[in-house]
Amino acid sequence: MAAIQIRTAIPGPGSRALMARRQAAVPRGIAHATPVFAASAEGVRITDVDGNVFLDFAGGIGVMNVGHSDPHVVDALRRQATRFTHTCFSVAPYESYVALAERLAAITPGSFAKKTLFVNSGAEAIENAVKIARHATGRPGVLCFEDGFHGRTLLALSLTSKVHPYKTGYGPFVGDVWRVPYAYCYRCAYARTHPDCAFECLSSIETYFKRYVDPKTIAAVVVEPVLGEGGFVAPPAGFLSQLAAFCRKHGILVIADEVQTGFGRTGRMFACEHDGVEPDILVTAKSLAAGLPLAAVVGRAEVMDAPGEGGLGGTYVGSPMACAAAHAALDLFESGELLRRSEEIGVRIEARVREWAERFALVGDVRRRGAMVGVELVRNRQTKEPAKQETEDVIRMACERGVLLIAAGTFGNVVRFLTPLTISNDELDEGLEVMTGCMASVAAQAAAH
């Protein structure tokens, strides 16, 4: 029984009418990957206002790892709303915040004493992680990576590496930010290949420290274990652990940005686990609270405690509603089934995507860690010229045929998979079949030019 049901043109009349209202009331600068208006969602399916049913391969940008409208989550929200929606943890605390902090301390890498601060979004969490690192080390600088994305508030944006559309016109940016190439092997900045390169991207940081900045002025490195917006770039095994060792040698704290890679996306609860890395601070958000706005900064107790009382805070932080949803989401991970499924989903997607690589010259690179799979499209496999338009065509076509997808990549040429981890093999195959058709169409058009 097919999950996808397309009854109208996409967008249908209901979506079109609502889009007109959107255009009148809401700034045009907010991108929307699809033109449809959501009416309801369950599991892996989103129904739009015209009754079309889509398979959700975007998960609201990686937020819905536990699936839409899980009854355990919905029930937790309903119950919490009757008790209290907000008191401000800094004014009158409540148990669910503390209990969630305890649970995260237990499941994040590292057996040292940890403390957790909750805020509303990944960007706010990165901002706070940097603040805390600055205070703890007394140093101003932050080391970050090309193709990294950490948020849109000014400091997080300064660490973000894709100029358009994130940064254009929004400067001036923050000082003391230092940027080096990531282990983006497909587009190696040093024109080497792994493992012969012996991680030249890491060893060259030592030279960078001679030419650009004294490492003793750097408080922390901020790094995604797998680049998210940058194109689902999974570095070779060993990159992250060697980076961590290198930084620690210089007294630089390691801040792991697991906003997109966390909560089972890469087959482990946190992506750092693949390399055995125990970051000083781990930042997570997105799938933490099954869709409610919540983010966490989890770190070594002595580091987190550096700021004096009153130095950290915010009004909404650790919203009781979001904490209730997060507890429910964590409950769903407890059996281990979601993590197991994450790897299976990834294997299944990769198998199909490798078939595309055989059939279509459009496929330049396939990258995967767990269920986090990215397909980089190029016009020419030798020159690796990014196929941005073709990527947009695949995504638009997939949406018209019932699969919601989003792109990634500095050049906008990566199709990324962020399906909820509750997706069944049938649903996965159905969506992949649709996408294969789209790839074939777009590849044929590209070949014709």
């Binding site: 209202r21 009331a25 809401v26 700034p27 045009r28 600068g29 907010i30 929307h32 990957a33 449809v36 969602a41 206002v49 975007a58 609201g60 940008i61 937020v63 839409h68 919905v74 929200l77 309903r78 709303a81 009757t82 008790r83 209290f84 929606t85 907000h86 401000c88 800094s90 004014v91 009158a92 605390p93 409540y94 305890e102 004493a113 403390k115 957790t116 601060l117 509303n120 979004s121 901002e127 603040k131 600055r134 849109r152 400091l155 559309p165 016109g169 929004y170 400067g171 000082g175 958000a285 099954a290 869709g291 409610l292 700021p307 009153g310 130095g311 915010g314 009004t315 909404y316 919203s319």
Partner: protein, 689 residues
């Protein structure tokens, strides 16, 4: 809801809420298995009871499980014509016999789950009912007690003999003996009261006069909303605070040691069973109060549909509808658009980004005393260094901070008008000496500065800012995160001034407690971003939008705002009284119900009271049963941010408790521990019959 009591074994007795209706239907079956099904209450009945007479319905809870309940109604009970049946009273379960002017509290039933009997829960339910009697000024409780032991012995003795035996203590009846122990007195034997073989259809009419004390019932609570059964923090609160210290960074501030279990309206119920009045509203987030019914329903309805799809992926109607509402409600008749974020700080970040893009300029002017958030940019715009900023720099470039006249601290030798003139001249001078206006993207200001100490910007100063922005093509950003959404008695503070900003930032009370912030303003500025330049994963969370729509619809009602203004008048009246009585109260100021008291060591020199002494006032207020917070550049103010739905008498009770805290603390500031509130704390041991 105003009744919330925690028994020694952890069972909580509170007024029945709609979410208890379904479990109560099940409890009826567990407690009264021999009753005919038609005589048991169903969920729909319970919802009706709550609607008709919310004060009189109680549940006993073990965690989230309903383990006991009582249903009551008001009747003009006539002891001369007292024959009646259960059916007469319950009217098919709907309790429509309830008379809002009835002078007796009639108990329709009391039930305790079999596994929980013998723990004093029924007695606690009667105690709760007695408090209702006292609060409403009724003559007492009356009920028809089931002689549940009679059915077994009906062949051996008459009902009269049985009842006399119980009254004289010779026979123990599981129900009647307990009721007599609570304090009920038998008045008559009723035959065929209801169909129940367990009592052979008999019951005894029993009455408990209002003059009688009842164990566990607090007479004080009849005339006050605050209920203090333990110290604050009590034992369970202290446990959680210890866990908090171990799990949460030391830098996260803690204004009070109140640990919340539940909240409704303006009342907070803590984990030890105390009831406090909330004058902090989670830092001004709760104009509509805790968990009002329309907001709770909106959240539940939306959570059923979907919690998140991301406005960057697909769109959803609540986002658009809320944007339309804000576009309509905010000052300015030009075309407007709205962008949502998760917090006030993120919304300010957006406003600055858009102003920079729109004007092509970099500099942002902010003002001393300003608070705009804790992300790096907003922290750079924030003024109070020691508490908020220390150790977190370096800060964002191209920020210019200018002074603003704070009239309470007008320099000696100047009138307020002269000080204001001087302040305006300084502002104009800064546009030569500090930054060229052609390089300024935006000026950002809170019309009533929040963290600075509820300082309303002098109208002439705000108007001058508007003029300068107009003259130089600068975007004027009004940060109404704290003063917006009803807080000053109008929907937006700007309305008091007749000043229309280009961009207005809101958050806090917008979402009735859910994380959401907004930038609303001129469409051309909001649209200046290229495609993909604004937006974020969570921004405009569907559940938060749904809650906000319900909240904004409440706030915009003229009656809501009129009540808010009335609260402001009450605050002014009481607080000016403090100023007359307490030398430490240097200034009382604010706008509408956004009021604050500033404490000083000396009224002539205005030397601020040290922060720790102001904190001592806060702690004493909490010990008296009121949640408040500090504010002020010198942390020497106590601010009021209550729900704007607070009933007037509740506000007066809270202000009285706060006034006593000020009095005690400023007369005897050297005491390190808060005092018990003048011996009025009643624990279970002091409230016995």
């Amino acid at each position: 809801m105003w009744y919330y009591r925690r028994l020694a074994d952890g069972v909580v007795v509170m007024q029945t809420r709609p979410e208890h209706a379904e479990p109560l239907e099940q409890l009826q079956r567990d407690c009264f298995p021999t009753l005919a099904d038609a005589e048991r209450f169903k969920a729909a009945h319970y919802r009706k009871h709550i609607e008709l007479f919310p004060d009189g319905q109680f549940v006993a809870l073990d965690g989230d499980t309903v383990v006991g309940a009582t249903t009551t109604l008001r009747l003009p009970f006539d002891f001369h014509h007292l024959n009646h049946t259960f059916a007469d009273i319950i009217q098919g379960g709907w309790l429509t016999s309830h008379d809002p002017n009835g002078d007796w509290l009639y108990g329709a039933d009391v039930g305790v789950s079999p596994a929980y009997r013998g723990r004093g829960i029924a007695a606690a339910l009667y105690a709760a009912r007695q408090e209702v009697v006292w609060r409403l000024g009724l003559k007492g409780q009356v009920t028809a007690g089931m002689i549940s032991g009679y059915g077994a012995v009906k062949d051996r003795m008459s009902a009269e003999d049985y009842v006399n035996g119980v009254v004289e203590g010779r026979i123990k009846d599981p129900t009647l003996s307990m009721q007599l122990g609570v304090g009920f007195e038998p008045r008559a034997l009723l035959a065929n009261y209801l169909n129940d073989p367990v009592s052979d259809n008999y019951s005894v009419l029993i009455a408990l006069d209002a003059a009688k004390e009842v164990k566990g019932a607090s007479r004080k609570h009849a005339t006050s909303w605050i209920r203090l059964d333990t110290d604050v923090p009590g034992p369970r609160a202290r446990d959680l605070i210890a866990r908090r210290l171990a799990a949460v960074p030391a830098g996260l501030g803690k204004a009070t040691d109140v640990v919340v279990e539940r909240a409704e309206g303006s009342l907070v119920f803590d984990v030890d069973g105390n009831t406090l009045i909330d004058l902090a509203g989670g830092i001004g987030m709760l104009a509509v109060g805790h968990s009002p019914a329309p907001v709770v329903k909106a959240i539940a309805d939306q959570a059923q549909k979907f919690v998140h799809v991301s406005s960057l992926v697909a769109t959803y109607e609540p986002y658009v509808r809320l944007a339309e509402m804000l576009n309509e409600l905010t000052p300015g008749s030009f075309r407007k658009k709205t962008l949502f974020a998760n917090s006030g700080a993120e919304s300010v970040e957006y406003a600055v980004k858009l102003a920079r893009k729109y004007t092509g300029r970099a500099a942002v002017i902010c003002f001393e005393g300003g608070y705009h958030g804790r992300t790096l940019l907003t922290l750079s715009l924030t003024s109070k260094y020691g508490l908020f900023k220390s150790g977190f720099g370096p800060f964002a470039p191209e920020i210019v901070r200018l002074p603003i006249p704070t009239l309470y601290r007008t320099p000696a030798g100047m009138s307020e008008e002269q000080y204001l003139d001087f302040g305006i001249k300084q502002l104009e001078h800064a546009l030569v000496a500090q930054v060229d206006p052609a390089a300024v993207a935006a000026m950002i200001i809170e019309p009533v500065q929040g963290e600075a100490g509820f300082i309303p910007v002098p109208p002439r100063f705000l108007r001058r800012i508007r003029e300068l922005c107009d003259a130089h093509g600068i975007v004027m950003i009004a940060d109404e995160v704290q003063c917006g959404f009803g807080r000053t008695g109008r929907v937006f503070a700007c309305e008091h001034y007749g000043v229309v900003p280009d961009l207005l930032v809101s958050a806090k009370s917008l979402g009735a407690g859910m994380p959401i912030g907004a930038v609303t303003g001129r469409a051309e500025i909001l649209d200046s971003s290229h495609l993909g330049g604004v937006g974020g994963t969570y921004g405009g969370s569907p559940v938060a939008c749904a809650a906000a729509i319900a909240a904004v619809n409440m706030i915009r009602q003229p009656a809501f705002l009129a009540h808010a203004r009335r609260l402001g008048e009450v605050m002014r009246e009481v607080m000016h009284g403090w100023q007359a009585s307490f030398p430490s109260v240097g200034d009382v100021r604010g706008l509408g119900p956004m009021m604050l008291a500033e404490f000083v060591k000396d009224r002539a020199t205005k030397e601020p009271l040290p922060p720790e002494e102001t904190l001592a006032i806060v702690r004493q207020a909490v010990a008296n049963g009121v949640i408040v917070m500090r504010a002020g550049l010198f942390s020497n103010c106590v601010r009021l941010l209550p729900p704007l739905t607070t009933p007037e008498d509740m506000l007066r009770e809270a202000l009285d408790a706060l006034g006593r805290a000020i009095e005690v603390r400023t007369l005897r500031p050297v005491l390190s521990e808060p005092l018990r509130s003048r011996g009025r704390v009643e624990g279970p041991s002091t409230a016995s019959a």
